[in-house]
Symmetry: C2
Subunit: 193 residues, 2 copies
């Protein structure tokens, strides 16, 4: 057993992100990350399965935050309102960490393997949102569709936020995307059957 290291996880995340930006993700071995963080490889692997997971360590917390927000939505909230509130809560976190979020996204965008992992994490978030909606009594089909639609909105709003230099803020972009979606859905698909 190693000794306890204060904020080892945060130090490893910070060191990894710096190195991924400076040298590229593929060119950064775990040994370099632990050297920069002043920690051992044993400590690294106590916190992360591999160097890819360093970038996605926050996704569990994000899921919990979103699930909690859906559960805490007023009883009168529609399913779409409940997930919109969840994304709004997530956006507050993204905005607070704006510069780090942008650096991290640059690393992900540059690597196909990381982009695949990101899509998997978003699929997991969709499943968590659908579970939270079903727990509110929402029927299965509406829960799945609303959750997948929320992820669609999140992807588009988040990408625009990153591409536009984080101005305007993410929260108004999310609201705008839900507005556009409402308009687009209202007249859509009448001849799809």
């Amino acid at each position: 057993m190693g000794r306890w290291e204060p904020n080892a996880r945060g130090r490893l995340e910070q060191a990894a992100l710096e190195l991924y930006v400076e040298r590229g993700y593929e060119q950064t071995p775990v040994a370099e990350i632990t050297k920069r963080a002043g920690l051992t490889e044993r400590t690294f692997f106590r916190h992360f399965a591999d160097k890819r997971e360093v970038l996605f360590g926050g996704s569990g917390g994000l899921e919990e935050l979103c699930e909690g927000a859906v559960a805490a939505a007023p009883a009168s909230a529609t399913p779409m309102e409940a997930v919109a509130g969840a994304l709004d809560a997530a956006a507050v976190v993204f905005e607070e960490r704006g510069d780090l979020v942008r650096l991290r996204q640059g690393v992900i965008d540059a690597n196909a393997e990381l982009r695949e992992r990101e899509l998997t994490k978003l699929a997991s978030l969709s499943g968590a949102l659908a579970d939270a909606l079903r727990a509110r009594g929402v029927d299965d089909l509406t829960a799945r569709l609303t959750a997948e639609t929320a992820i669609a909105v999140l992807k588009v709003a988040f990408r625009r936020w990153i591409d536009e230099g984080q101005e305007p803020a993410l929260r108004p972009l999310l609201a705008e995307c839900f507005d556009v979606l409402r308009t687009a859905s209202a007249r859509g698909a009448v001849d799809a059957g």
Copy 2:
């Protein structure tokens, strides 16, 4: 150069799918696929980058089909109507190949690496749909959101179609999903801003 093999690609796909179902994806080397198909490994790698791509060789054709359907939608069609028409065209193909589609999905569902690849292919399809909408003069934000929403609908309807033993057919499930989405979006997100 090898000699020309009639329908080599189709024979390799068929052999690979059979073996993936019988033995599992991970336990099937390329050499077994080519042996079953009566072809050489050289022929295999002329058609596919790796054994994973055998399962996704149709995705390029699916993208072209969907892009073509969006382009061919009446000028009066809304963006959502245009993508709904594209999914409807894709659903016809899925329904025609129902048993193969189900076998293939079972292989993908059983393997995390294949599930990640499937998500990447769906993201690519979303990009193609957005491009096709922009080519119709649809603004960028509406194009992206409509395309991502179409993928959301496709994922949910397709999953239900597979889970329910392909009855009812996929096309009515898609129409039902667009209906549910319209209802869910209409009252949603009013307090998201």
